[in-house]
């Protein structure tokens, strides 16, 4: 009896948390489809706002997707080896590096962006291209890949597997790609999920790093919330949702399947 009442309490609590997270989003989506938010739903539903937003802001959607994919690739290329090294080294230098890695998250994006601008702003072509924004995104999302991958590597008894591979004659690079990486797929994918999510929504750094020609979706979204009608901003949020939720569900499902496979 006591067990099930606890269960009910937990369920209610979790439902409350879900409601807290989702209700404002649903309200925002509804606003994006309403003719006039001040009057309310009674003023009628319409797709006009969505059409208007797409006509004005579709380049931002493509640029954000491009940045997210490029960011995920770059972060994997430098982050997975880094995670491996940090797990193997496990000394004070590696711990200092871990703290260093988190700092771009701790410092306001405004400051990091200012620093980047002052140091590299004079390279005009680089500064005006989307690569400049990519640099900011990679700095910000790196710890979000490295940490989960480190956690997975620590659990996987890698030294044993590596020794076995080494005894069969595999060199260090071959061992890395054929033993280490496949065993950490779930962790890497979980990290990629986080990186893509964060890159799609990154605002603080991008706000200063972007130019009017390289505007990303979050910057456009913030702009529309500031200066356009609430219905337009909400319609923009709706488009954002339609873009990101299928991506997240797919990545979630793949990573769940992989981690189930790993435990067998």
């Amino acid at each position: 009896m006591k067990r099930s009442s606890l269960f009910v309490l937990q369920l209610l609590f979790t439902l409350l948390v879900c409601a807290f997270m989702l209700v404002p989003v649903l309200m925002s989506l509804l606003a994006g489809l309403t003719r006039n938010f001040f009057v309310g739903v009674s003023s009628g539903l319409t797709f006009d706002w969505i059409v208007q937003v797409w006509q004005a802001y579709s380049p931002t959607v493509w640029l954000s997707l491009q940045l997210a994919v490029a960011c995920a690739v770059c972060v994997c290329v430098i982050g997975v080896p880094a995670a491996y090294a940090l797990v193997r080294m496990n000394n004070c230098f590696s711990r200092a590096f871990e703290e260093l890695m988190v700092l771009p998250v701790a410092m306001p994006g405004l400051a990091s962006a200012l620093a980047l601008l002052l140091t590299y702003g004079q390279f005009g072509t680089f500064r005006s291209s989307w690569l400049f924004i990519l640099v900011g995104h990679v700095l910000f999302t790196l710890p979000f890949l490295v940490r989960p991958v480190m956690a997975v590597m620590q659990r996987q008894h890698l030294p044993v597997l590596e020794e076995a591979a080494a005894s069969l004659g595999a060199g260090p690079i071959k061992r890395f790609f054929s033993v280490v990486v496949p065993n950490c797929r779930a962790g890497i994918l979980a990290g990629v999920l986080m990186v893509v999510t964060l890159s799609l929504g990154e605002f603080n750094l991008t706000w200063m790093l972007h130019t009017p020609m390289t505007k990303t979706l979050p910057v456009g979204l913030a702009d529309s919330y500031a200066s356009a009608r609430l219905e337009i901003a909400s319609a923009y949020t709706l488009i954002f949702l339609l873009m990101i939720v299928p991506l997240l569900i797919a990545l979630q499902a793949i990573s769940a399947r992989l981690s189930r496979g790993e435990r067998r």
Partner: protein, 334 residues
């Protein structure tokens, strides 16, 4: 085969067209689509001069800060901001002197003699009210009205320490309450009293929030209120407070070492041309060049007797004391 060569030709044309487009760009800092109807202005610029200018949503302070940060390799060609920021940009050395066509028609106090900045239009500060969202309360008619407890939680003003509109509000209220640019005590006193009325103090334009009713009363410009009333068809009223207010010019500059200098100049020429100035008038701003406003637009403004309550201030002095006032505001108004 014919289909393939047609497709290739079409692609080649598109490629050339996009190259041509890429060539005729100018970057403007702070040209938001809805503020002062820059959306229409930029479309007219593209149609008339062929220069494409993407929209940009910074505010005056951010634009200046970005210009200074990018001094080594500027990204912007032209910039639009409040007059005090134009003065500061000149001091910081990030803008060049340029005298567009129709230079002589700009009144003397509204331009830098060497052309580092010049006014393109001006607006008057007042109280913008979403009448429906008041819930039956009377529309406030003076600065003192805003302090009344019946408007608790309904009044908003932009942050004087970070937004130009906010600073203009402070200067206008200060002047209306008997102070001047050397003595901001009346303004500080007013804001401290207003703080008891639970005001909302956004850091950026809150136009959308007034329309949605979230912020029923906002200290803002006349052109935003008229736009809400006549373009967006909201029941918005604009009031020039009984104690008085001020008008301020918004200015533009050519950025020093601009990447597309020639295109930037074309943009600046256009905003001061007959066509450009007429577009500002249609957007409810007062064009800087003396010209007759179209009758139907003039009819939508408040009567001149109301506008007589709005004066002008010494903009150079206003710029010089801005920083000190911002610090004082942050310290004393909690």
């Amino acid at each position: 085969m014919r289909a393939l060569s047609k497709t290739l030709a079409a692609l080649a044309l598109c490629g050339m067209a996009s190259l041509a487009q890429a060539a005729d760009t100018a970057i403007c800092y702070n040209c938001p689509p809805d503020w002062a109807d820059w959306g229409t202005q930029l479309k007219a610029i593209a149609a008339s001069t062929g220069v494409q200018v993407p929209l940009d949503n910074k505010n005056s302070g951010q634009s200046l800060a970005q210009l200074v940060a990018e001094k080594a390799a500027p990204v912007a060609d032209v910039v639009y901001y409040g007059v005090t920021f134009g003065l500061q940009a000149q001091k910081a050395g990030v803008v060049d002197g340029y005298k567009p066509k129709a230079w002589d028609q700009i009144p003397a106090g509204l331009k830098d003699p060497a052309g580092h900045w010049f006014a393109i239009h001006s607006g008057t500060l007042g109280i913008m009210v979403n009448v429906d969202a008041l819930g039956g309360l009377p529309v406030p008619q003076s600065w003192a009205d805003l302090l009344k407890p019946q408007y608790k939680g309904m009044v908003g003003y932009l942050d004087p320490s970070s937004a130009f509109v906010g600073y203009v509000s402070a200067v206008a209220i200060n002047r209306a309450m008997g102070g001047d640019l050397d003595n901001f005590a009346p303004a500080i006193d007013y804001f401290q009293k207003l703080a008891k009325n639970a005001p909302i103090v956004p850091k950026q334009t809150a136009y959308a929030r007034v329309l949605s009713g979230e912020l029923p009363i906002l200290v803002d410009y006349d052109f935003n209120a008229y736009r809400a009333r006549y373009k967006d068809n909201a029941n918005v009223a604009f009031v020039i407070p009984q104690e008085g207010s001020i008008s301020v010019p918004y200015v533009m500059s050519l950025v020093a070492n601009a990447p597309h200098r020639a295109n930037g100049k074309k943009v600046l020429d256009f905003v001061l041309s007959d066509e450009g100035q007429a577009l500002w008038a249609k957007a409810y701003l007062r064009p800087v060049r003396p010209m007759k406003m179209p009758a139907e637009v003039a009819a939508q403004f408040l009567p001149d007797s109301d506008y007589a309550r709005a004066g002008v201030v010494d903009y150079e002095k206003m710029a010089a004391v801005q920083e000190a006032f911002a610090a004082r505001y942050l310290n004393e108004v909690k």
